[in-house]
C-alpha cells in the first residue's frame, strides 16, 4: 500500500503539471466512477486499450467502445482510456510500458486521455523505476519495446511564450487513482 505522503505528492505534482486527478474511493468500481465523470460531460465514444479493459467490464451509461487499429479510426473518439503501469510522485508522471502502436495512439490521439493508475504502483522517483524500465526495453521477446512517460496534457509555449494546452496530443489528462491509502 502506498503511503499517504507519496500519494499526496503524486496528486499535487500531477495537478501542478496540468492533469486532473480523481481518487476512486475504496470499494467503488473504477468503471462506474469513470462513467460518472465522462458520462456527465457527454464523452461517450471511447477508445480503450487492451490493458485497461479488465477494469472496465461493467461501465454504466451509454458508452461505445470503438474498435481502433489505424489512425483514421480515432476520428470520432472522444477519449482514450488507458492504464498506466506506474506513477512517479516527484513529477506526477505516468509510466507506461508500451505493447504496441495502437496503445500509443490511444494515449495520444483523442482529445481526452483518461489513465487508470493503481495507487500502489506509485514510486517516489523516476530513478526508482530504472529496473522496470530497463527490463522492458531489453525484453527481446517484444518487437521494439517502448516506454512512455506522460506528465500532464500536451502543451506548447511556442507563440509569444504563452502556454497553450493540447497542441498535438490530448488537451486533458484525467488520472483515476484506485487502491489508494485510507484517508
Amino acid at each position: 500500500m502506498v503511503s499517504r505522503d507519496l500519494f499526496e505528492k503524486f496528486v499535487a505534482n500531477a495537478l501542478s503539471a496540468g492533469a486532473e486527478v480523481r481518487e476512486v474511493p475504496a470499494g467503488e468500481n473504477v468503471a462506474v466512477h469513470l462513467a460518472g465523470i465522462l458520462g456527465k460531460e457527454g464523452i461517450l465514444r471511447l477508445s480503450v486499450s487492451e490493458d485497461a479493459r479488465p477494469l472496465l467490464r461493467d461501465p454504466a451509461g451509454d458508452f461505445v467502445f470503438l474498435p481502433v487499429q489505424e489512425p483514421a479510426d480515432f476520428e470520432t473518439s472522444q477519449a482514450g482510456i488507458v492504464r498506466a503501469d506506474y506513477g512517479v510522485a516527484e513529477t506526477g508522471t505516468l509510466v507506461h510500458l508500451d505493447l504496441g502502436d495502437v496503445e500509443k495512439m490511444i494515449w495520444t490521439l483523442p482529445p481526452v486521455c483518461a489513465a487508470l493508475l493503481d495507487a500502489g504502483k506509485i514510486a517516489g522517483r523516476l530513478a526508482d523505476l530504472i529496473p522496470e524500465i530497463s527490463a522492458h526495453l531489453e525484453a527481446s521477446c517484444l518487437p521494439g519495446p517502448q516506454v512512455s512517460l506522460v506528465t500532464g496534457p500536451s502543451r506548447t509555449a511556442d507563440i509569444e511564450c504563452q502556454l497553450s494546452i493540447g497542441v498535438h496530443g490530448p488537451s486533458r489528462l484525467l488520472i483515476l487513482l484506485y487502491g489508494g491509502p485510507a484517508a
Partner: protein, 694 residues
C-alpha cells in the same frame, strides 16, 4: 533580421526573466551542482568510450529490429536518409524537432531531391512556413508575434486567420495531424541513445514526437554520436537536468524510450561530422558534454539583445561558436565567438558544467593563429600591453595631452563624430593628473601611511591599469583602509596583468605581460586586487598560461580586496565604521568576474551593508554585464551601449543615489553612462565607500 530589434529584445528579456524564476523553482530542494557534476562525469566517460558504446548500441538496436547506419559527415548522412526514403517510396516526411537535421541542412537537401519535409513542432513549423531563421534552440519562433504567425498561417491556408493564440494552435493541430496521417515517414532526433538496450530517448512537450514516431510506417532517427550513454539510468541523468534547464519544467509532457519499431520499420542514422576528432582533442572535448538544453542562451546578455538569428551560424550562442568551429569549420565560428562577452554567466547554469567562456578564449587563440587577427589588436596586445615600457609611455602621453582632452570632473572631451559610436552612450574618463604610483609615493611619506595599532604584516595592493591611470583615488582609498587596520601597505607593479591579450586569444603577449607581474610582485605577503579581472588573471588564467611554480605561489597569495577584508577584518571594521545613518538608497552592481568566477561579490555586499548601515536597494539583473567587457566594447559598441542603457535603467528604477561595484571597468562604464545622462548618481568602488566610512 534587424540587429537588436526592440520587440525581439523585449520578448527575449521577458522570456529570460520568466525562465530564471521557473528554473529556480524546479531546482529547489535539489543539489544542482551535484546533478551537473554527475552528468558531466558520465558524459566525459561516455565520450572516452564512444566507439565501444556505439557498437553496443548498434548491436542492441538491430536485435530489436532497427537498422543502424553511420555517416561520416552531413553530406553522407543526407544521402543515406534520401536512399532510405527512396527505397520506401517516400514523398512526404514529417519531422520532429531535430537540431542535427539543421546541422546538415537536411530539409533543403530533401526538397532538392523531390521529398517534401514538414516540421511538426509548432515553432519549427511556423518558421518553416514563414522561411524565417530560428531565434532560439528550444523556442525557434520566439521572435514572432501572434500577428506574425496569423499572417504566416493565412498565407499558407489562403484564408483569413484570427490572431488569437488558441485559434492558431488549433490550426497547427489540425494541419499537422493531416500531414502526419498522410506522411509515409517520420524523422526525429534523439536526446539520448542508450547503449545497454539500443533504445533512444525522445523528449517533447507537444506530443508531435509521439505522432511522428508512431503513425507513419517508417521512422528515421537522426542523431549525433555523442548522444550515446551507457545505461537507462544515465539517460535519466540527462533527463533530470535537461527539462528543468531547458524550459523550467520538472519534466516534459512526453518522454519516449523507443527500442525499436512496433510495426513498420525504423532506421537510425548516426552522424559523426568531426565529433570523433573533437573527442580526441584534450582541450575542447568537453564541448561534447552539451545536451542542447540552451540554458546558456537564456542567461546570455548578448543573446538577449540580438537573438539567435544574429548570434549563430547554425548552432547558437557561445556554445554554438564552439560547435561551429568543429562541425562547420573554424572560419564560420569567428564572428559568433567574437560576440561572447566573457562574463561567464552561462557557466553557472550549464547542465554539463562546460567552461564555455574559457573555451571560447582558447578558440580565439586558434582563430588568431589560423585565420589571422585584426591589426589594432596586434598593436594593442603584442605591441603595447606585453611591453610595460611602451604601455607606460602610452599612458604618459595620454596624461601629457590631458589639457587638450580633458573637460573637467575627470571626463574627457567627446570623441570626433567618426568615433562617436564609442562614447555616444557614455562619457569616457580623462587620464588622472597623476597615476596612482606617484600619488602612492607621496602618501607613503605621510603619517596616514603608518599602520595603526599592532602591525599585522605587509600587504601588496595590485591596482591594475584602470586604477593606476584613471581611478587612482580607489587605490589610495584601499591603502588608507588597510593602514587603518594595521597593515603595512606596498604598491604592486603598475603594468598590465595580461588579461586583455589573454582574453582576446593572444597568449604569447599575455604570458609576457604576466611573467613581468610575477617577477615584480615579490615573494611575501598578501596581494590584494582592486579589479576582479586582474584577480582572475593572477589567480586562474595567468598561472595556467605560465605553468610555473612562481605563478602558482602568486595565485595562492592573491585575493580580492573585499574578500580579504571579509575573511580577516569584519569584526575590526564593524568597530571602526562610523554609524552615521546618513546613507541614502544605494544599489550594488555585481561585476561579472567578481560574481561568476571569484564568488566575491557576496563579501562586498556584506561589507557595504555594514559600512553604509543600510540594506541594498537591489536593481533588476544586478549580475548582468554593464557592457564594458574590455575589448568587447570597442568591437561591439552598439551592444555595449545597449547593455549600459539597460544597466542604467535598472539603477534608475531603484531610486538609488549611489551605485557600488568592485570593478574599475564597471566604474568607467556605469559612471560614464550616468554622467552622460546627467544623473545625480555616484558610482563608487567598494574600497572608496569603505574608506569614506572609517
Amino acid at each position: 533580421m534587424k540587429r537588436m530589434d526592440p520587440r525581439l529584445r523585449s520578448t527575449l528579456r521577458d522570456f529570460s526573466r520568466g525562465f530564471a524564476a521557473k528554473r529556480e523553482a524546479c531546482f529547489q530542494g535539489l543539489d544542482f551542482e551535484r546533478l551537473r557534476e554527475d552528468l558531466a562525469r558520465m558524459k566525459d566517460q561516455a565520450i572516452v568510450r564512444n566507439a565501444e558504446l556505439l557498437d553496443r548500441f548498434e548491436a542492441r538496436a538491430q536485435r530489436h529490429g532497427s537498422r543502424v547506419l553511420r555517416a561520416r559527415d552531413g553530406a553522407e548522412a543526407n544521402r543515406l536518409i534520401l536512399d532510405v526514403l527512396k527505397e520506401h517510396g517516400v514523398r512526404k516526411i514529417v519531422k520532429g524537432k531535430s537540431m542535427v537535421s539543421e546541422e546538415t541542412r537536411l530539409n533543403e537537401f530533401l526538397v532538392r531531391n523531390g521529398v517534401e519535409p514538414m516540421e511538426t513542432d509548432l515553432g519549427e513549423w511556423i518558421i518553416q512556413l514563414g522561411a524565417e531563421p530560428p531565434t532560439h534552440m528550444v523556442m525557434p519562433a520566439i521572435h514572432l508575434s501572434r500577428k506574425d504567425v496569423a499572417g504566416i498561417f493565412a498565407g499558407h491556408l489562403g484564408r483569413e486567420v484570427a490572431d488569437e493564440i488558441p485559434a492558431l494552435v488549433r490550426i497547427a493541430r489540425d494541419e499537422v495531424r493531416k500531414a502526419v496521417f498522410g506522411a509515409e515517414a517520420g524523422l526525429t532526433g534523439a536526446n539520448a541513445l542508450i547503449a545497454e538496450n539500443g533504445s533512444i530517448m525522445l523528449v517533447t512537450n507537444e506530443g508531435n514526437g509521439r505522432l511522428v514516431t508512431t503513425i507513419p510506417g517508417l521512422h528515421i532517427v537522426f542523431a549525433t554520436i555523442e548522444k550515446v550513454v551507457p545505461t537507462t539510468g544515465d539517460a535519466l541523468r540527462v533527463l533530470e537536468v535537461l527539462t528543468k534547464n531547458a524550459t523550467g519544467q520538472p519534466i516534459s509532457s512526453y518522454v519516449s524510450f523507443i527500442a525499436g519499431p512496433h510495426r513498420g520499420r525504423q532506421y537510425i542514422i548516426l552522424l559523426d561530422n568531426h565529433r570523433s576528432e573533437l573527442a580526441a582533442d584534450p582541450v575542447f572535448r568537453g564541448i561534447l558534454r552539451c545536451i542542447k538544453c540552451s540554458a546558456c542562451l537564456n542567461v546570455c546578455p548578448v543573446y538577449e539583445l540580438v537573438g539567435g538569428g544574429e548570434y549563430s551560424y547554425i548552432y547558437m550562442g557561445g556554445i554554438g561558436s564552439l560547435l561551429t568551429a568543429w562541425i562547420h569549420g573554424l572560419e564560420h565560428s569567428k564572428e559568433i565567438a567574437g560576440l561572447c562577452l566573457g562574463c561567464h554567466r552561462c557557466e553557472a547554469v550549464c547542465s554539463a558544467k562546460i567552461p564555455i567562456a574559457d573555451l571560447i578564449v582558447r578558440l580565439k587563440t586558434r582563430l588568431n593563429e589560423e585565420t589571422g587577427s585584426e591589426l589594432w589588436k596586434r598593436i594593442a596586445f603584442n605591441g603595447m600591453m606585453a611591453r610595460p615600457g611602451i604601455h607606460r609611455a602610452a599612458f604618459a602621453a595620454g596624461r601629457a595631452a590631458r589639457p587638450l582632452i580633458s573637460r573637467g570632473k575627470g571626463y574627457a572631451r567627446k570623441l570626433p563624430p567618426w568615433m562617436g559610436k564609442y562614447d555616444r552612450f557614455r562619457d569616457l574618463p580623462a587620464p588622472a593628473e597623476r597615476p596612482l604610483s606617484r600619488l602612492f609615493k607621496d602618501w607613503t611619506a605621510s603619517p596616514a601611511a603608518v599602520p595603526q595599532g599592532t602591525p599585522k604584516g605587509r600587504v601588496i595592493i595590485f591596482p591594475g591599469c584602470l586604477i593606476e591611470h584613471f581611478y587612482p583615488r580607489v587605490g589610495l582609498a584601499a591603502s588608507r583602509v588597510l593602514s587603518k587596520l594595521g597593515y603595512e601597505v606596498e604598491l604592486g607593479p603598475s603594468a598590465c596583468c595580461g588579461f586583455p591579450p589573454a582574453n582576446s586569444g593572444f597568449p604569447a603577449a599575455a604570458r609576457r605581460a604576466f611573467r613581468g607581474i610575477v617577477e615584480k610582485t615579490g615573494n611575501g605577503g598578501w596581494v590584494l586586487t582592486l579589479c576582479p579581472t586582474c584577480t582572475t588573471m593572477l589567480k586562474r588564467a595567468g598561472p595556467e598560461l605560465l605553468g610555473t611554480e612562481e605563478a602558482s605561489r602568486l595565485a595562492g597569495r592573491t585575493t580580492a580586496f573585499a574578500q580579504f577584508l571579509a575573511a580577516n577584518e569584519k569584526e575590526a571594521l564593524s568597530r571602526l565604521f562610523k554609524k552615521r545613518r546618513d546613507a541614502g538608497p544605494w544599489t550594488y552592481h555585481d561585476s561579472c568576474h567578481s560574481k561568476h568566477l571569484l564568488g566575491a561579490s557576496r563579501d562586498s555586499r556584506d561589507l557595504l551593508r555594514m559600512a553604509l548601515d543600510r540594506e541594498i536597494s537591489e536593481m533588476d539583473s544586478s549580475d548582468v554585464c554593464c557592457g564594458f567587457a574590455g575589448a568587447f566594447s570597442v568591437e561591439h559598441p552598439e551592444i555595449s551601449a545597449a547593455l549600459t542603457g539597460g544597466k542604467i535603467s535598472a539603477v534608475k528604477k531603484t531610486g538609488a543615489g549611489l551605485v557600488a561595484t568592485d570593478c574599475p571597468g564597471c566604474l568607467l562604464q556605469i559612471g560614464g553612462g550616468c554622467h552622460r545622462q546627467g544623473l545625480d548618481v555616484a558610482v563608487r568602488h567598494t574600497a572608496e565607500i569603505i574608506g569614506e566610512r572609517l
